[in-house]
C-alpha cells in the first residue's frame, strides 16, 4: 500500500553543485515493519539516499515524502521537526557523550521535543530496560563495551517512538557477535512495526535482512528477493 509508506521516494535525483549527479531518478518505498538494507560501494550514492530518507537534505529532482510530508517545500526548521518526530538515527560512531550517564544520553533523544527533563529520563529508563541495559543507567558510556554502547544509541533513537529507524553502518565498529546482537535487536523492532533501514557495505549483514536494495552509480540495481552475497 503506497499510502502507508513512511518514506516514499519518487524519481528522486540529487545533483550537487558542480554537476555531480549522486542520485538519478530513484524510486523506493519504506513501509512500517520493513527491515531493509541499503548496500553499495562507496561513491554509489547510498549516503545521499540515506540523507534524503533521513530528511537531512532535500532532493533536486523528484519527490521525497517522509511521514506523508514532501521535503522539497519544507523550511530548515520544519525539516528539523520532522527528523525529531519521525526518524531515529543510529550511527557507526555511536555519538554518545562521555560527560553524561547512559540514562541522560538516551534522554537527550527527546531534548528538542519540549518534553521535561524528568519525563525524558523516565522514558529513557523504560527504553534502556527493554534493551537489557537496566543495570547500566548510571554508568558513563566509556565504561560500556562497544555492543552495549550501540544498544544505548539504539535506545536513544527509540526514545521518541519514531516511525523509522535509520542506521548508518551500525555494526561498523563492532565485532561479529556484537554486530549480530545489534541486527537482532533491529529485527525485533521491525517485527514490532517500526520501519528499519540499515545502510551498510557489509554484505553479510545485509544478507540477514528481509529486503536489500543495492545502489550503484546513483541508481538502484535490481536485486533478487533474497540476496546471496
Amino acid at each position: 500500500m503506497t499510502d502507508a509508506a513512511v518514506i516514499e521516494c519518487t524519481d528522486v535525483s540529487r545533483v550537487y553543485p558542480g554537476g555531480v549527479r549522486a542520485l538519478d531518478r530513484v524510486s523506493l518505498a519504506v513501509r512500517p515493519g520493513d527491515f531493509l538494507a541499503v548496500v553499495g560501494p562507496s561513491g554509489s550514492g547510498k549516503s545521499t539516499l540515506l540523507q534524503l530518507m533521513g530528511a537531512l537534505d532535500r532532493p533536486t529532482g523528484g519527490e521525497v515524502r517522509v511521514a506523508g510530508t514532501e521535503l522539497g517545500r519544507l523550511s530548515d526548521g520544519a525539516l528539523s521537526r520532522l527528523r525529531g518526530e519521525t526518524i531515529g538515527f543510529v550511527f557507526q560512531q555511536f555519538h554518545l557523550s562521555p560527560l553524561m550517564s547512559v540514562c541522560d544520553n538516551v534522554a537527550e533523544g527527546l531534548l528538542y521535543s519540549g518534553v521535561r527533563h524528568r519525563e525524558r529520563r523516565l522514558l529513557a529508563v523504560d527504553k534502556l530496560t527493554r534493551l537489557g541495559l537496566g543495570h547500566r543507567l548510571r554508568h558513563r558510556p566509556d565504561a560500556l563495551s562497544g555492543g552495549e554502547r550501540q544498544r544505548v544509541a539504539i535506545a536513544r533513537a527509540l526514545v521518541g517512538d519514531p516511525a523509522v529507524i535509520l542506521a548508518d553502518e551500525p555494526t561498523g565498529n563492532l565485532d561479529t557477535a556484537n554486530g549480530d546482537t545489534v541486527i537482532e535487536i533491529l529485527r525485533g523492532l521491525a517485527a514490532g512495526g517500526t520501519a528499519v533501514v540499515v545502510v551498510t557495505h557489509d554484505r553479510e549483514v545485509a544478507a540477514g535482512m528481509d529486503r536489500v536494495i543495492e545502489v550503484r552509480d546513483g541508481r538502484i540495481v535490481d536485486v533478487p528477493d533474497r540476496v546471496t552475497g
Binding site: S47, L56, S80, R81, R83, F91, S97, E108, L111
Partner: protein
C-alpha cells in the same frame, strides 16, 4: 514545533564547558582579569573619595590660610603682629592663630651638631590656639599648657620629630643658643602639612627667650561654614591694612580635593586599560568558542539529527559563551573586591565599593560574552546536519 526549554539550555551550556575545563578556566580568567582591574580601580577611587569625605568632615572646609607674599624686590614680607587679633574681629571668624617662622634659629639634638646640619626643620613661634584652629592631633605627649608656654618648651611637628630622631616627650632640643624641652609630638596635619617639619615654640616664650618680634609668616583662620568666601574677601585688608596686595588667602581643603581630582584623571586612564583587558578577554572567549564549533561538528550533526533547529544550535553556543564570560565576570568582581579590601587595609582608609560596581562588572561581561559568542554561534548553526554520519 521543535522546542528547547530554558532549563535545558543552561544544562547544555554547563555541560559544554565541563567538556574542556582547562580551556574554560583560562578563557574565563582572561575576562576575570579585565573585570578585576575595573572593579579594583573603581573601588580604590571610591575608597579614596570616602576617605577624603571623612577627613573633610572631621577637618572642616572652613579653614583659610593667610600668607604674606614677596614684595617687589623679591623679599619675603611678614604680617604685622596684630594680624591675628585683627582677623578675629571679623564677625564670622571663629578663630585665628598666627605662626611666625624664626629664620635665624635652628633646632638641633645637641649644641655639638654643626650649625649647617639643620635636618631641614624650621623653628616657628605659634599661637597656643593653633592646634585647635587646624584641628590637629597630638600623637605623643601634649600641646602647650598655659603655664608651660611661659617657659622654653617646644612641640614638634610629625616630620620634625622624625628628622631630629626624637620619640619621647621630655627630651631636650638645642634651639638657637639654649635648651628647650619637647612636651609633645603632633600627628601629621592634613590641612597644614607645611607645619609638619616645624619645631614650634609658644608665642610668649618665643618673644621672651628667642627674640621673636611677634610678626607672622602665616595665619590660620576658621570661619563660619557659610561665610568662607565673604571672609576670604576682607582678609587681606584686615590682616595687613598697609599692603593688602601682598596677602594671599587659600583654602587648604580645596587642595585636598584638587589632589583627588588629579587622581581621577589617572583612574580614567587605568579604567580604559582595564576595558582593553576585558576586550582582549572577550576575544579569547570568541576564539575558544570558534575552536569548539569546529571540534564539535559531529555533536552538532547529532543534535540536528535529533531535531535541533539552527537557532537551537546557535543558542547553545551563545549560552556557553555567555556562561564562560559571566563566570569570569563573577570571579573578577570577587578578585577586584579583594584587591580593594587589601588596598584600603594597607592604606588605612575605609573600603568603599558600591554594589553597582559589581553589578556593572557582571553586566558588562554578559554583553562581552554575547558579542564574543555571536560569530561562533552562527558558525556552529550553519554546520551541515549530515556531519554525524560515518559515510562522509
Amino acid at each position: 514545533m521543535s522546542r528547547l526549554r530554558t532549563g535545558d539550555v543552561a544544562r547544555l551550556a554547563a555541560r559544554g564547558l565541563r567538556g574542556h575545563p582547562v580551556r574554560f578556566l583560562l578563557s574565563a580568567l582572561g575576562i576575570a582579569i579585565g573585570v578585576a582591574a575595573m572593579v579594583a580601580v573603581t573601588g580604590i577611587a571610591q575608597s579614596s573619595q570616602a576617605d577624603l569625605d571623612q577627613k573633610l568632615d572631621r577637618l572642616g572646609t572652613n579653614l583659610l590660610t593667610v600668607l604674606p607674599a614677596e614684595d617687589l624686590n623679591g623679599e619675603q614680607t611678614r604680617l604685622p603682629p596684630t594680624a591675628a587679633a585683627m582677623l578675629r574681629r571679623i564677625a564670622p571668624v571663629t578663630a585665628a592663630s598666627a605662626v611666625g617662622q624664626l629664620d635665624d634659629l635652628g633646632a638641633y639634638r645637641s649644641p655639638y651638631v654643626p650649625e649647617g646640619q639643620t635636618s631641614s626643620v624650621v623653628v616657628a613661634a605659634v599661637d597656643t590656639t593653633l592646634l585647635a584652629t587646624v584641628r590637629g592631633e597630638v600623637s605623643r605627649g601634649h600641646w602647650f599648657t598655659p603655664a608651660g608656654s611661659r617657659y622654653p618648651t617646644v612641640v614638634l611637628g610629625a616630620a620634625a620629630a622624625r628628622r631630629l630622631g626624637i620619640e619621647t616627650p621630655g627630651t631636650r632640643v638645642w634651639v638657637g643658643d639654649q635648651w628647650a624641652v619637647v612636651v609633645g609630638v603632633l600627628a601629621p596635619l592634613d590641612l597644614a602639612p607645611e607645619l609638619d617639619p616645624a619645631v614650634m615654640l609658644p608665642a610668649g616664650s618665643a618673644q621672651q627667650y628667642f627674640g621673636s618680634d611677634g610678626t607672622a609668616t602665616s595665619v590660620y583662620v576658621r570661619t563660619d561654614e557659610d561665610r568662607v568666601a565673604a571672609v576670604s574677601d576682607v582678609v587681606p585688608a584686615t590682616a595687613a591694612p598697609e599692603s593688602p596686595e601682598l596677602v594671599s588667602v587659600s583654602r587648604p581643603s580645596s587642595a585636598l580635593e584638587a589632589k583627588l581630582a588629579a587622581d581621577d584623571a589617572l583612574d580614567q586612564l587605568l579604567l580604559g586599560l582595564a576595558a582593553v583587558g576585558l576586550l582582549v578577554g572577550g576575544i579569547g572567549v570568541s576564539n575558544t568558542m570558534i575552536i569548539a564549533s569546529i571540534e564539535r561538528r559531529s555533536e552538532i550533526g547529532l543534535r540536528r539529527a535529533l531535531g535541533a533547529t539552527r537557532p537551537h544550535i546557535a543558542i547553545q553556543f551563545l549560552a556557553e559563551s555567555l556562561l564562560m564570560s559571566v563566570a569570569g565576570g563573577v570571579g573578577g568582581v570577587v578578585l577586584g573586591s579583594l584587591v580593594t579590601a587589601y588596598w584600603s587595609r594597607a592604606q588605612g582608609v575605609p573600603p568603599a565599593l558600591p554594589v553597582w560596581v559589581g553589578a556593572l562588572g557582571i553586566g558588562l561581561t554578559a554583553v562581552v560574552g554575547s558579542l564574543a559568542g555571536l560569530y561562533p554561534a552562527v558558525r556552529a548553526s550553519r554546520e551541515s546536519p549530515v556531519s554525524a554520519l560515518a559515510s562522509l
